[in-house]
């Protein structure tokens, strides 16, 4: 069973990586703790569920690609509107204003989802069912989980390439390292801030899109994810791709093995790790001081 426990941990880590990466980029580049990040994830979930429902009978991969693309575009678009209208005036205000406005946006988006999609759960498990299961060391394992791990690896590689190899990424990293210096060097802060926020929102949307084939889209689905994403960001460090990856792996694998052997400690252990990191290394394992 050890391999299966490890695969479960990797799947959960993949899911966490996708959702916390956007949060980490926004926090790193913009310095904003976006409490509405979970709502962007929920938008992704509902939009994907809608598209999957519309495409019943189509090949699983086509359904998923369409649903994920639609979810990323819509979550990104909502992120764009959010940033340019509600967040922009808050940048020069104290942190508590940003927290209040993003919390307000969270509530607003929740109501908007209810208005658009209704209050009922939305099921979209067709791709999960269609992909079936395979045998791994004598144990049955759903193919969809392997698919999510693959997509996450691709998304991670893309973000790494973007941040490490492109001018855009270098400028974003410069902002993360020293905002004042970046501004003094003539980096277009405003434009890049919008880009970072939209990118983070789209990643949240992708996370939501990939989860709905395994679980219904429900109102409030973004809250739990937000908490887990915070734990990952606290452990890994703000704005660090490597930190988000290591944080996700640590949380995913710890959870999987804890449930198998000491189930009662599932959540307490994760919180204890986060608290320990905050005390010993407040900037996170790979964050900058």
């Amino acid at each position: 069973m050890g391999l299966i426990y490890a695969l479960n941990g990797l799947y959960f880590a993949a899911f966490l990586f996708l959702t916390s990466l956007g949060l980490s980029i926004i926090l790193g580049v913009m310095g904003i703790l976006n409490l509405a990040h979970g709502s962007l994830y929920a938008i992704g979930g509902f939009v994907a569920a809608y598209f999957i429902g519309m495409m019943t009978g189509s090949p699983a991969v086509l359904m998923l690609v369409t649903a994920a693309a639609a979810a990323m575009v819509l979550a990104g678009a909502v992120g764009l509107v959010m940033e340019t209208t509600l967040l922009k005036p808050m940048y020069k205000r104290p942190l508590e204003y940003q927290l209040l406005i993003t919390f307000g946006i969270l509530m607003l988006i929740e109501d908007l989802i209810k208005l658009v999609f209704g209050g009922e759960s939305r099921y979209a498990s067709a791709p999960f069912d269609a992909m079936g299961s395979i045998e791994i060391t004598g144990h049955t394992y759903p193919v969809y989980f392997l698919f999510v791990m693959g997509i996450t690896a691709l998304a991670g590689l893309f973000i790494w390439w973007l941040m490490a190899k492109t001018k855009l990424g270098i400028m974003l990293r410069a902002i993360e390292m020293d905002r004042d210096m970046a501004q003094a060097m003539g980096i277009p802060m405003r434009r890049l801030t919008v880009v970072a926020f939209v990118l983070g929102a789209a990643l949240a949307g992708l996370g939501g899109a990939l989860v709905v084939p395994t679980t219904p889209a429900v109102l409030g689905m973004g809250m739990d994810v937000l908490i887990m994403a915070f734990i990952v960001v606290v452990i890994g460090g703000l704005g660090s791709l490597k930190g988000t990856l290591v944080g996700s792996l640590l949380v995913g694998l710890t959870r999987s093995f804890t449930v198998a052997f000491y189930a009662e400690l599932e959540m307490p252990l994760l919180f204890m790790i986060a608290v320990l990191i905050l005390v010993v290394k407040p900037e996170g394992l790979f964050g900058q001081k």
Binding site: G9, G118, E120, H139, T215, V225, V259, A263
Partner: protein
């Protein structure tokens, strides 16, 4: 000529006079009752269920639909004592604090005649004490915690609330019935595990099941107890842990999206090849999941609430209820719909019973008094509301089986187990735990 009255004639006359006087007295009372006016205004009935969020689809909306259907049906029949039912459907979302505020408003400002409500045990526990505090009649219709009407130790005082009732049985019966069904079909089972949500509902459900199964099958070893958070989206770790435990039966009170997610992921991971589920409120999920729902699982019906039981030829009320519900909403009713029927019908029956005794439109207290010892027909058989203000019902447990007649597994007609209410419900005044402790092994 005056006739002398003998003793026999005197007794006849006296008897006749007595009967006459009695008849006049009864007629007088009835006449008096008839004179007591019944208002013409509609009855304000607040029906509170989850209309949004994860509990809306499987519970709240089927419950609310049954309220709407029955209010419409009763109104077409003339309402309750000629008064139309003005049904106010409200959302249970928002948590206990929100529900307490809503109940206060409904009783004090809107002055509703009765509140029929609540799926969440937490909401029931928070709101029901307001019935006596604010003077509002409340019928809890679906929440399952056994501690709602029970005291901490036996014997406890009944009723706990003068104006608060529960018109369905509690989780004790579901879990005891499951244990009894397992004893019948798998008497040699050795290893049992549990997966229940980490809050009062899940903890209480497992607690009662564990007590009952250990009493009924002492050889059973509990090999794993898992407590995932409510609204967990990834059960892979839990499923692997259950597979690793070697459990033959897995008890679960998971509900709504959690139940659906768990079953789907567990099926894909092959869990049902080695273990059977025993779901304390599993009845809605075959219809929810369709052919994907695995066969051979123990499913309890939160009472004897099932669209195919009681058999339609033996109990036409179930046939009517199922047909009417399906016609209106396109789905077969699930247990929350039956619970909603019981709540609105309990209120109607109690008002009519009280009115027949006191005349006119009864006061809230008179209605409550009539409801304190009430028996009425439901689509599932008879429902009895006891002196502890808690309903008692028979409990049905079945085993899922795919047939050619429906696009989802039904409960195998050859293996339907109906446990009478006295076998699965503690008597009033005795806590469920102490009652189970008193069973002979």
């Amino acid at each position: 000529m005056a006739q002398k009255t003998n003793r026999r004639q005197f007794l006849k006359m006296a008897g006749a006079a007595g009967l006459g006087a009695g008849a006049v007295s009864v007629m007088g009372t009835k006449a008096l009752a008839a004179k007591k006016s019944i208002p013409k205004t509609p009855i304000k009935v607040a029906a509170i269920s989850f209309l949004s969020g994860p509990a809306a689809g499987p519970f709240g909306i089927p419950g609310d639909n049954a309220y709407k259907m029955m209010a419409d049906v009763y109104n077409k029949q003339g309402g309750i004592l000629g008064r139309k039912i003005d049904l106010i459907s409200l959302d249970e979302a928002g948590g206990a604090k929100t529900q307490v505020e809503l109940a206060r408003k409904l009783i004090l400002e809107d002055k509703v005649d009765v509140i029929l409500g609540y799926i969440s045990s937490g909401d029931c526990k928070a709101v029901l004490p307001l019935s006596d505090e604010l003077g509002g009649l409340m019928l809890a219709y679906d929440c399952g915690t056994h501690v709602l009407m029970e005291g901490k130790k036996s014997p406890y005082k009944t009723p706990k609330f003068q104006l608060g009732f529960r018109t369905s049985a509690h989780l004790g019966q579901d879990n005891i019935a499951l244990a009894l069904a397992i004893k019948k079909y798998m008497p040699d089972v050795k290893k049992i595990a549990g997966i229940n949500q980490d809050y009062a509902w899940g903890r209480d459900s497992w607690h009662i099941f564990e007590l009952a199964i250990k009493k009924l099958l002492p050889q059973v070893e509990i090999v794993k107890t898992l407590w995932p958070k409510i609204f967990t989206t990834d059960y892979t770790a839990h499923i692997s842990a259950l597979q690793g435990s070697g459990a033959q039966i897995i008890h679960s009170s998971l509900w709504g999206g959690d139940a659906v997610t768990f079953i789907k992921q567990a099926k894909a991971a092959g869990l049902f090849k080695q273990a059977k589920m025993a779901m304390s409120r599993g009845e809605p999920y075959p219809q929810e999941l369709g052919a994907e729902f695995p066969e051979g699982q123990f499913l309890c019906c939160a009472g004897a609430h099932y669209f195919l039981y009681p058999a339609w030829d033996k109990w036409p009320l179930n046939k009517w209820f199922v047909s009417e519900f399906k016609k209106r909403y396109g789905k077969y009713p699930t247990y929350p719909s039956y619970h909603a029927y019981q709540a609105i019908t309990a209120y109607k029956t109690a008002v009519e019973k009280a009115s027949s005794l006191v005349g006119g439109w009864p006061t809230m207290e008179q209605t409550a008094k009539a409801m304190g010892n009430l028996s009425f027909e439901t689509p599932s058989g008879y429902c009895v509301i006891n002196k502890d203000h808690n309903a008692r019902e028979d409990c049905l447990v079945g085993i899922s089986k795919m047939t050619k007649d429906y696009p989802f597994p039904i409960l195998d007609p050859q293996r339907l187990e109906v446990f009478p209410s006295f076998q699965v419900n503690a008597p009033a005044g005795l806590t469920t735990e102490e009652w189970i402790a008193g069973w002979k092994s």
